[in-house]
């Protein structure tokens, strides 16, 4: 097997006496599409927070492109190419849609040091990103004027602005309608075609099943399955976790 892009090993996290994550191991290869599912409270978002540096894991390690990430603050991980979107969209509310995209451009692409985007480059990149997610008409709108799906698209566009190698989409489709889900799915496929690995965290099984090449199941802080989606959803353990005995 070739070198993994993301390698999580023995990851553990507790909140007081509550064990949120217990010895999680996970690998994601470059360009792979991985689905991550699990019942509410199973630790999916905690896992994302530990990988992206928003929370500190007590045990275990996270490697990205072979380098250990332990102790690195979240912004450094984003600059390395590990970007995440938030379950509840967190736009910069006082800024316009375009300005929202400028922030990651200024602080990741420019801050990496190898390229320095000029004012014109910045504007062009913002336009490209808006076109990619289909928000061309909203460039000067404020987040409060956006609909729910536009907000999700902005969240994804902002994540993409950091030019990531791995995108973690934390419930990017929750609360959306059938056709809107297809919209976001198409968008994620498009990003993946550009070579970006995607971890999709989602409750909507239709979306997860059509998107994922591999499916990982978390239950009560433990990984109980990891494999081809069709096999995983039929495995007795997963059925038991979701439906009870």
């Amino acid at each position: 097997m070739d070198e993994a892009l993301l390698k999580v090993d023995g990851l553990g996290k507790r909140f007081g006496g509550f064990v949120a994550l217990d010895g999680i191991a996970l690998e994601v290869r470059a360009g792979e599409r991985v689905g991550l599912i699990g019942p509410n409270g199973s630790g999916k978002s905690t896992l994302v927070n530990c990988i992206s540096g928003n929370l500190k894991n007590e045990t275990g390690t996270v490697h990205f492109e072979g380098a250990a990430l332990d102790g690195l603050p979240a912004y450094r991980r984003t600059r390395l190419g590990l970007a995440r979107s938030f379950q509840l969209p967190k736009p910069f509310r006082s800024l316009t849609v375009t300005q929202n995209l400028r922030i990651p451009l200024l602080y990741t692409v420019n801050a990496r040091g190898d390229t320095r985007l000029s004012e014109a480059d910045l504007a062009a990149r913002c336009d490209d990103l808006l076109r990619l997610v289909g928000l061309e008409g909203k460039a000067r709108a404020r987040p409060r004027d956006l609909t729910q799906i536009e907000m999700r698209k902005l969240e994804l566009a902002r994540t993409m602005a950091a030019a990531p190698k791995l995108l973690i989409a934390d419930e990017a489709m929750a609360g959306l309608s059938h056709s809107e889900i297809d919209d976001i799915l198409a968008l994620l496929f498009k990003l993946n075609n550009g070579g970006i690995a995607v971890i999709l965290i989602e409750h909507i099984m239709r979306a997860v099943m059509s998107f994922s090449e591999r499916l990982v199941v978390l239950v009560a802080g433990k990984k109980i399955a990891d494999g081809a989606p069709s096999e995983v959803v039929n495995s007795p353990e997963v059925v038991r976790a979701y439906l009870g005995e």
Partner: protein, 314 residues
């Protein structure tokens, strides 16, 4: 407008205001003008942290007094020219600002605000019990008989504060339109999302608290020479903290224009009230105006014309 052009425009405005002031023969104008200018610096400094970064500082008087007492210490030891005292006061207050920035590691929102208030009280207690700077008795500063450059001391102080105000405004404006300014705005709106977008939030917050604190300290350094008698009750006066918050709120917190307008507006009203009605009534005006603005113009004076512009854009 490019930053260099703006600095130049500010410099020209400073020269113009100063030239205009030479036509005024009444010295009271300079006494009152000094206070208004001092509030322009304080309000602008407060807004770098409060308006741009979203962290409310209730401890303005603490930073201001650090500058003032730094000048007292220097005066007693050596008696350097005021610009030197301003630099030293700025550095000291900036260092304390850096310390305050460390508070943001654990404290957000109202808890940070309470922390800054506590910080000001701690500094006040230290100064009150420090005999060298007069303790609670206060300290007299004997001004030199003549001022450099201008002869009259109050004219000299006015010029110094005018230059400081120009620097503060040009600095605030440069930050606003820079990468730093975007980063601070991201922190103000959502700190987690800012981190996820690659913004080094801690570093930027430290820059913001340090700059803000340093400017406040610089504004305080000429104070002993202005009042000639400084005691903790006047140096740490709550009015500085209240005004430094009220002025950006009334003027508008999103750009450098807000604190400038707010400071001029409130500063002049307060000075006029002090002379015409009573000196103790001034803070009442601040309170009434604050309530009025929260109801009528929640985005301040600068927010009043903005909605129309946005409608035109759409």
């Amino acid at each position: 407008m490019r930053n260099s052009t703006f600095w130049l425009a500010t410099a020209l405005s400073v020269i113009a205001v100063f030239a205009g002031s030479r036509l005024v023969s009444n010295d009271y104008f300079f006494f009152a003008g000094y206070v208004v200018l001092q509030y322009i610096v304080l309000a602008t400094a407060w807004n770098i942290l409060g308006g741009y970064t979203g962290y409310i500082n209730f401890g303005t008087s603490g930073f201001f007094a650090i500058g003032a007492y730094a000048a007292v210490v220097l005066h007693k030891l050596w008696g350097p020219p005021i610009p030197v005292a301003i630099l030293v006061g700025g550095v000291l207050a900036g260092l304390v600002g850096l310390g305050m920035g460390m508070l943001t590691l654990r404290l957000r929102g109202v808890f940070f605000a309470i922390g800054t208030l506590a910080l000001a009280i701690v500094v006040q207690t230290l100064v009150t019990n420090w005999d060298f700077v007069g303790g609670s008795r206060g300290v007299y500063i004997i001004r030199p008989a003549t001022a450099p450059l201008l002869g009259t001391y109050i004219h000299y102080l006015f010029l110094i504060m005018l230059v400081l105000a120009g620097i503060a405004i040009a600095l605030a404006r440069s930050i606003e339109h820079s990468t730093l300014g975007y980063g601070l705005a991201a922190i103000r709106d959502d700190e987690q999302a800012a981190e996820a977008s690659g913004v080094p939030t801690l570093k930027l917050k430290l820059i913001s608290t340090t700059l803000s604190g340093a400017l406040m300290g610089m504004a305080g350094a000429p104070l002993p020479y202005y009042v000639t008698y400084l005691d903790p009750a006047s140096g740490f006066n709550l009015a500085y903290a209240v005004n430094a918050i009220a002025m950006p709120l009334i003027g508008g917190m999103t750009s450098w224009v807000g604190p400038l307008l707010g400071a001029i507006f409130l500063g002049i009203i307060q000075q006029a009230a002090t002379v015409t009605i009573s000196s103790s009534l001034n803070l009442l005006f601040v309170g009434v105006l604050l309530v009025l603005f929260v109801v009528v113009a929640p985005n301040g004076l600068t927010g009043l014309y903005r909605p129309q512009r946005r409608r035109r854009e759409a």
